[in-house]
Symmetry: C2
Subunit: 161 residues, 2 copies
DNA sequence: CAGTATCCCAAGCGATACTG
DNA sequence: CAGTATCGCTTGGGATACTG
């Protein structure tokens, strides 16, 4: 205790931010790129160069973020080899990572509803009133995963290729 | 077009990050404090000084974040007056803000499951196996809101007072 | 293709001090 | 109580260039 009389000092017995799951999650994922990288992984973009090209993220930043995601256990690095090809690397979601789909879809839905709608030229707006706004996942070949009305798609044609 | 032949340049027709609801949400909320401030609002801590003391956030930062949250429409500022008192200010959630509860609870649940569990001394761990880990909201006087097993609580005793 | 090494810049954070 | 003004510092982002 450094100050004796200040009424606004924190009680030392209080549960601090470190015990809040949301605060901790935000700490892990809360920067400009991390969530986007997880999103790539969720629809199957797992190679370094593919992610880089898709998001248009600097190599050095992607490198750092990937290492971080592996460190915290959201992604794991994996070598694979297609017949007749040389070895390649990929970053795949762990169980921990896959389970981020729920919060991310919820967040995406929120963003679509409250940010994208009302913006001029928004794809959401153009979809018209007969297309409900529920979020969902699609695989790279377009099949829906989980929920209906998939809007959780690659941002660029490149990503789907 | 500044460069003619680079194969890694983005296709201009591609759907960019600006069209992804999640990316946009992350852009709006993705810093060290914003989500925590929304969390405070969700359980009813709405006055400047209360939030500041609860989160232990610098005044200048809180000021900036609150203005930002008002600007984007998550909070709205409101003056109120209790009988015999002078006017006070508070920041209350808009509909847009209230609807952040779902993504936030999902994220909190994820954080509790994958980050807090396994940490020494975690309240989650100490809770024991008979207490399931579903997330939920409580009002300031402890009544559950929405889901069962509320863990979305004030971090400090002060916040509940 | 899959990265790493360097270096620079901008933004965010936070301490201090002040106003109504 | 509810903020704003200033300023220094740290962190992260990004350009460039290089390696296996």
């Amino acid at each position: 205790m450094t100050d004796s009389a200040s009424p606004s000092r924190r009680d030392e017995a209080a549960t601090p931010i470190e015990r809040c799951g949301m605060a901790r999650a935000a700490e892990l994922l809360g920067d400009r790129w991390t969530l986007l990288i997880v999103r790539e992984a969720l629809y199957g973009v797992t190679r370094f160069e593919a992610i880089r090209a898709d998001l248009d993220i600097p190599r050095t930043v992607l490198s750092k973020r990937l290492r971080h995601l592996v460190d915290v256990g959201v992604l794991k690095k994996r070598s694979y080899r297609e017949p007749g090809q040389r070895a390649r690397e990929q970053y795949v979601l762990t169980t921990m990572g896959v389970e981020l789909a729920l919060p991310m879809i919820a967040l995406m839905h929120w963003g679509e509803k409250h940010i994208l709608r009302g913006e001029a030229g928004s794809a959401i707006v153009e979809r018209g009133s007969d297309a409900p706004l529920h979020a969902g996942l699609v695989t790279n070949d377009g099949r829906p995963v989980g929920l209906a009305n998939a809007t959780f798609r690659p941002m660029t044609p490149k990503a789907a290729a």
